[in-house]
């Protein structure tokens, strides 16, 4: 079956919008029709980069355009809900920059609207589409790491201080979506601390612990005020452990055959803890840009009427944890329970990835 290219508009042409536009333009299955931004300078930048497209300051103009079947929203967070709602009501498929909206109630409403209209609602949790996260997921799903003991992540940079969301909603949101994707478990509670170093501004540094039913613990440190950029995640498993450094040009993912061994001693409360120190292995990763994979998946879901890997529900769960995190920060770390939903099966890898499986890599002798 051959589909016509899906007409697409990008709403918001600030930091992330140009990446969306560039990747839509490069897709055979999509056609970039319009870019929306209030700022005339940004509109003319879009025109220079994509000659022949339409630009406008008015989102409603694209909502009423029948040649546009899908919109991608990359505006400030506080505008997501209203824009996405209007788009869905106008019958458009919607991709929304993370976080999906400012409250879980808003997200739930958007899910409902999309379901009623059989429209795709997708949240732009880009990291799930990186070869690195895909590889780690494979390693976990195949049992190669054994039971997961912890996920420890640091995301820091001298970054853009945002004014409508804090650093948790800006950076930790990436880890929350990755954790949800890698593990089969929803956290039961969150304990978080945060601080703003600029009076009157949202928190620019935060530390978050997610408690699970199992002995797994996740911890996320985020910081907009770091002298150097850090994007580093440790995943500790019973059998192997992973270090994922997103700033490495190659060898982003290193798998260590290291860990502890626990021997039962004569007396039941005594356990001897030993150590294993084995080889390290860095699987080759494909070089494909994550956003390209993600947008292909978006278009594919529109064509096939399927739910994307990062659908509204995944956006909802992430926003619920963000809300609990904000409550815990206000309570200086006191634990806040997370709403437990009916168990969700591990979200499937996007079809586009299933069809072009990343190999586990040549095994060395």
């Amino acid at each position: 079956m051959v589909f016509d290219p899906v007409g697409v508009a990008v709403i918001g042409y600030g930091y992330w919008g140009p990446n969306l536009a560039r990747n839509f333009a490069a897709l055979d299955e999509a056609r970039l029709v319009a870019v929306v931004d209030r700022d005339p300078l940004r509109r003319s930048a879009a025109e220079r980069a994509h000659q022949g497209i339409r630009t406008t300051a008015s989102a409603s103009e694209v909502f009423s355009d029948p040649s546009i079947r899908a919109v991608a929203i990359a505006t400030p967070t506080h505008t997501h809900y209203e824009l996405a709602l209007a788009a869905l009501r106008a019958g458009k498929h919607v991709l929304v920059e993370k976080p999906l909206a400012q409250t879980s109630a808003q997200v739930a409403h958007l899910i409902e609207e999309a379901e009623q209209r059989k429209l795709v609602l997708m949240v732009d949790h880009t990291f799930l589409y990186t070869p690195a996260v895909q590889k780690i997921r494979q390693l976990i799903a195949s049992g190669g790491l054994g039971d997961i003991y912890y996920y420890n992540s640091t995301r820091a940079s001298l970054g853009l201080f945002q004014s409508d969301i804090n650093v948790v909603w800006d950076l930790a949101v990436h880890d929350l979506s990755i954790i949800r994707y890698l593990l089969d478990e929803i956290p039961v509670a969150v304990s978080a601390t945060g601080v703003s170093h600029v009076p009157g501004r949202p928190e620019n540094m935060a530390h978050i612990t997610l408690h699970f039913e199992s002995r797994c613990v996740a911890h996320i440190s985020v910081n907009w005020l770091s002298p150097v950029k850090v994007r580093q995640t440790f995943v500790g498993g019973e059998r192997k452990m992973v270090v994922y450094n997103d700033l490495e040009a190659t060898e982003k993912v290193k798998v260590y055959d290291r860990g502890i061994t626990i021997a039962n001693m004569a007396e039941p409360e005594q356990l001897r803890v030993g150590y294993r120190a084995g080889d390290m292995w860095a699987p080759h990763l494909a070089a494909k840009e994550a956003l390209q994979t993600e947008l292909e998946h978006f278009i594919d879901c529109i064509d096939k009427g399927e739910a994307p890997t990062t659908d509204g529900f995944s956006g909802l769960e992430v926003v619920e944890i963000l809300e609990a995190t904000s409550q815990s920060i206000a309570a200086r770390g006191a634990p806040i329970p997370i709403k437990q939903r009916k168990f969700q099966l591990r979200a499937p890898a996007p079809a586009i990835l299933r069809e072009q499986p990343i190999e586990v890599g040549a095994v060395l002798p």
Copy 2:
């Protein structure tokens, strides 16, 4: 004034004891007289390494020896209090491996005993004697970093799982002593989470946030179950920021002339946040072993009857924070207030360092 070498015994010849013995043996101002350990294999190792010394399984034997004026205790934590108390009562100056004791009540008692007898009670917070921490302290004290925004530290390795203390009392204790030394402030509360991945064992992974009266926040991540060793600390200041990586052979301390600038806007609640990205500078650090400096300082304090930089009070404050941290871990992150003592002036640098000052090096413009 010339002093006779101080006769010293080392109690405990496991992991750290050999380092104490080797460094005492190398000091002109001290004389290693005896090593105490219950394990005959360790005693014979001590004899091979230090021919001519006495070894014994009995600590009381060294307590009753008048040629021994000082003891260094490097046994498991749960034995510190009893051994240190007996040593003080026998009139010996005492250096105790960190943490000083298992409870703050025990530490307070040891302080009292030492004061009554005019004996030196010192805790082995070795990091304070490293050229790296000395340099960072100088940078802060001179105002070079400006107000301190945060202290973020990670200490992880595939380390020795201990059975009588958890990873906080083993590793975070280093950061607590460093934080006390670098900042002029005692935290007001602690929020911490921790987990044990081995049933029945103390926590092997923990995350700690220290809240201060000021906007400074300290965070410490410790982990005995990491595939790779990490010893990394970020100190964020208003004017400059420091990255301290203790695993670097050289350039352990890097000073970044980076940060944010805050401009008041027309309307009071609006602040514009800008960025500065300037040079990086790695001051040359002396190569001297920290333990050598520390033991010289210990002997010096014995000779002069002075209080050491890492005296009983510093050990007490650290243990009080450790106790509050354990309470917060039990409460899944709920904040626990820290006992506020009368304001302590910044502990002076050890005399041995004051006399041979480490230069601040080229100050960046």
Copy 3:
């Protein structure tokens, strides 16, 4: 004085051509008019990226177009001479990808043609326009490094095996242009070895030593068959030393206040060699893309009728050293003398850089 934008054509749209086209398109002072390539796939790629431009398979078509005042040639090396000659004869200013041509006789002829016609002939030695090389040049020119003892460079990757030139003409050419720019001296002789690991192909690995009248020595290692990419240069000076790692995201240039001290001893032939180990300093570098700076300079030289920093003579000297290197490789390292030209003053920094000077930054004491 205001100039009309200079109409430009890019000839060759393979690996480097798209970068030239993108950077010309972004310049206010230039206008990308046409792209020439024999391959229809590449022509359509150029059309997608730059809507509205003309594409053609015929270079002569652009030579005869009066709206095109300048051409940039990014075709295989063996075509440079013929294309540049035709362009100059058609009255176009010419920028040629490195190396300028296959022989020094060809380069000399192109210089003559350009001079007769008062046209700009520039060679694309891009590295000279990087903030890193500009900074090192400033450090040398200001005397901050003292006399230069050596320049040691390694350029390796799993790179494109080329068929019309060897690895020296492909990669070492960068270092030859940098050395010429940094030092005030032309080498007197070259000794080089090289090997081809693929039968019938040009050398894919080579090692080159340049001898100077002074005690300075330059050494360049190039390799197309390396498991990892390396772009590292050491510049050793009497007073300070530089490590330049082009693969670092930040801190590409590190200046070490380290070196030797030479004390004269009583007897004249005895010298005591001591060591200095001081601070390290990484100056902040501007983030501007080198090719942007370079193309601004090209247009500026066209407008003002000035000779560019990387003019035909610089291309000539580099090609003469390349020729001598090839001779030495054939002689398994035997030294080949380099033609000594009348002393050339240090090429001036491009006007565009002189007007927006990069500061030297904090000079270490």
Copy 4:
């Protein structure tokens, strides 16, 4: 069969001698009897470190001592020949610090003397006994790397400028011994350049190319005047490539499944070169100190009357290449042929290693 511990004397207690003494003292199979040094300060340092041993300024005193069966010579290079000759004539087994002697004629003479007397003559090429070099050798011997294309090594530091030998005889000697051990081939010619930056001193920087009959090429860069320490070796094979960084605490050896593929095209002279980019693998290496392994091997060879891995012949071949290198440096890189000996089988791994084989490491899934 049980042997009495071999009585050993260490001659020369400067930089390396203390390491020899400490490692002999730790061996059950040896007994450190005496240390020889002219400097009374060094002799008293040896006495403090090894109570109960004899120290003397006179080497002849140990030569005439029947309780001493073996001597280790760690004096300046120009004294090696005379001391080793006297030791052999006194019936002692001899271990000599590298390089074995100042000329190949001297080495040949020492070999002859040792053979006549059935004594062990061993040269201290320590690197061959490191787990890293052992591992690389296994990888090559097993065919895992395929044919070897190149060995590229850099050894640089702000090192001790020596006065009786140049940087080649001090540092490149390590690579020459490693190359001999890893490859089954003796080079046919050497081309080298070098420079002294201190008037009247031996060369402190040099670059050496070794040509082989096969297409393998080895290159060694050595430098006493580097701002940072570098110990890095690339071994490029047809099937896989190795990066060996001796300064890494762990992961010293990384094996890359990368390389080129060569496809024959229709016309014979045309070959298409493609690329493979696969996984990286860092085998776990044992932590044993190389010198410990080496001295066990020395004692073992004495006990069994066997030739050591680093016997006089290996020392001879290395010195012959050093002599040719010096000639080439004097000729500014002109190639100097290397004496071709009857083909030597690959030197066997030391028995001590054969008995305790280093495993190739757990294969990851």
